[in-house]
Symmetry: C2
């Protein structure tokens, strides 16, 4: 690898990046390379962007090819592994396990009987039992995380801050049930809780509730609040925002976005700030357990 930094001298092990959709896997790979690490992408077919994958050492993979992963990871001398990028929870029946994975099937059947955290934590443990160190964005590239305070020019107002506090408290309450990581609150009124549909679909629902007059809070009120679940393995699944989140929040007629600083991955922060200012919405990093100021 060219462009090795002094970190490389520390002999940081090669990093296997299990790479889903979107731009985040490449942001993580670039951040690791900037620190002098060698990275190898295990690009998930149908999810990872082939054009961008081509710029990195990579192997195309399918979910379930655990035997193949173990073989290639040994050849590439990968000791660390990170999961990043969008993947819709697969069906157990969509997974075609290879020879190395087939004996893990009884365990996988159990993992699939529950929420996403349950599934992800179990997959994480599977890699760890085979000697890999599981790392998250926090460990590899903290600069990908949301900082405290606003990303653009706007700040939440008084009612917005009350809505943010209510949303964070609600996410705390639902957290033990391994359900969504996002809610919409407008003038103290909970407009939506995220389920498996994801944040963008939930925001489309809020836009529809407004169109159908099922919800009558005026445009420009309400906040999308996202927070990692308590006890969630933050190495595997942190909440994410990106420029499309800003677009969807603007289309839903909300005032802004609040996420937990230090526990939310931000894709393309400069583009988010510009989009937020253009749409006149705020994007703010807040503390999970402190009053919103």
């Amino acid at each position: 690898m060219s462009g090795r930094t002094p970190d490389a001298a520390n002999g940081e092990p090669v990093l296997a990046i299990i790479c889903g959709g979107g731009s985040l896997p490449f942001a993580l790979a670039d951040a690791a390379v900037r620190r002098g690490r060698r990275v190898v992408l295990f690009a998930l077919r149908e999810w990872a962007d082939p054009q961008r994958v081509a710029a990195y050492p990579h192997h195309w993979s399918r979910i379930g090819q655990f035997g193949r992963f173990l073989r290639i990871a040994a050849e590439e001398r990968c000791c660390d592994v990170a999961f990043i990028g969008s993947v819709v929870r697969p069906s157990l029946w969509q997974i075609r396990p290879d020879f190395g994975a087939i004996r893990l099937m009884p365990e996988m059947v159990r993992l699939f009987r529950g929420g996403d955290d349950h599934l992800q934590a179990g997959i994480g443990r599977m890699f760890e039992r085979h000697g890999f160190r599981l790392l998250g964005a926090k460990d590899i590239a903290p600069e990908l995380l949301m900082p405290p305070g606003p990303l653009g020019a706007r700040m939440p107002g008084e009612q917005d801050r009350a809505d943010i506090a209510r949303g964070l408290a609600l996410l705390d309450a639902t957290s033990p049930f391994d359900v969504g990581q996002a809610v919409v609150v407008a003038n103290n009124h909970v407009l939506a809780l995220e389920g498996p549909e994801g944040t963008d679909q939930m925001l489309a629902r809020v836009a529809e509730l407004r169109r159908n007059k099922r919800v009558n809070t005026p445009a420009g009120t309400g906040v999308l609040i996202k927070a990692a679940k308590l006890g969630q393995d933050q190495r595997i699944d942190l909440p994410v925002i990106g420029p499309p989140t800003v677009e969807a929040v603007s289309a839903a007629g909300l005032a802004g976005i609040a996420v937990v600083a230090g526990s939310t991955i931000v894709a393309e922060p400069e583009r988010i700030a510009a989009a937020a200012d253009g749409a006149k919405i705020f994007v703010v990093g807040v503390g999970a357990n402190e009053p919103v100021r």
Copy 2:
């Protein structure tokens, strides 16, 4: 009135029924008449069914005509009042208060800054301050409430019972936030939480999650669980199920419906039982705070 029962001799006061959409207002009116009460319907325009309203003493009304309500209720000697039937939460700006309501506007502005419970409890207090006794279906006609046990032939299985317990616990946790009264849980996995969109829209979302493969629990698994919110004024807003709920649950590919016995209004129980048996789903009344057996 013909058909007076001995109750009438007790001089039960005339009952004003503020009457939204669906068949429930008429079931409630019939039950009150069977007990020898005189009823007067205040039929909400755009919600109440004009053909069915015509069969009862009635006055057409709009939300916000509180002055007119007070005048007619005095003429009709109504002392008790009940709210029943579907009404979508109105916008404060859609309400055209009459002269009697206009001085209540500062209070109404406050009521509209919150969830449905907050709004409904405030409206209830407004009637009570004017000397009316606010009654619910429980007080007037307990036979409209869900009994314990199944309505049709089917019973929940072991996994269904676990899903019901999880759903009830989740509804308990979200209850203080004045959010929806329903969730869908399948194989321990929370598929949806109800917001202002209502139960039918939430079930349509579950059906779509299945079509889009965002959710992969097999057809015939999962339960719709409904429960009144803790601290909710059960005189004003109890959860309701009717034959359309069975249809929507069947279309979403779920195994059944669980509601809290004694705290859920059942529209047309015989039709529900027949529809449930036809669709091969269960409909069961459970205890709110006891293990599901």
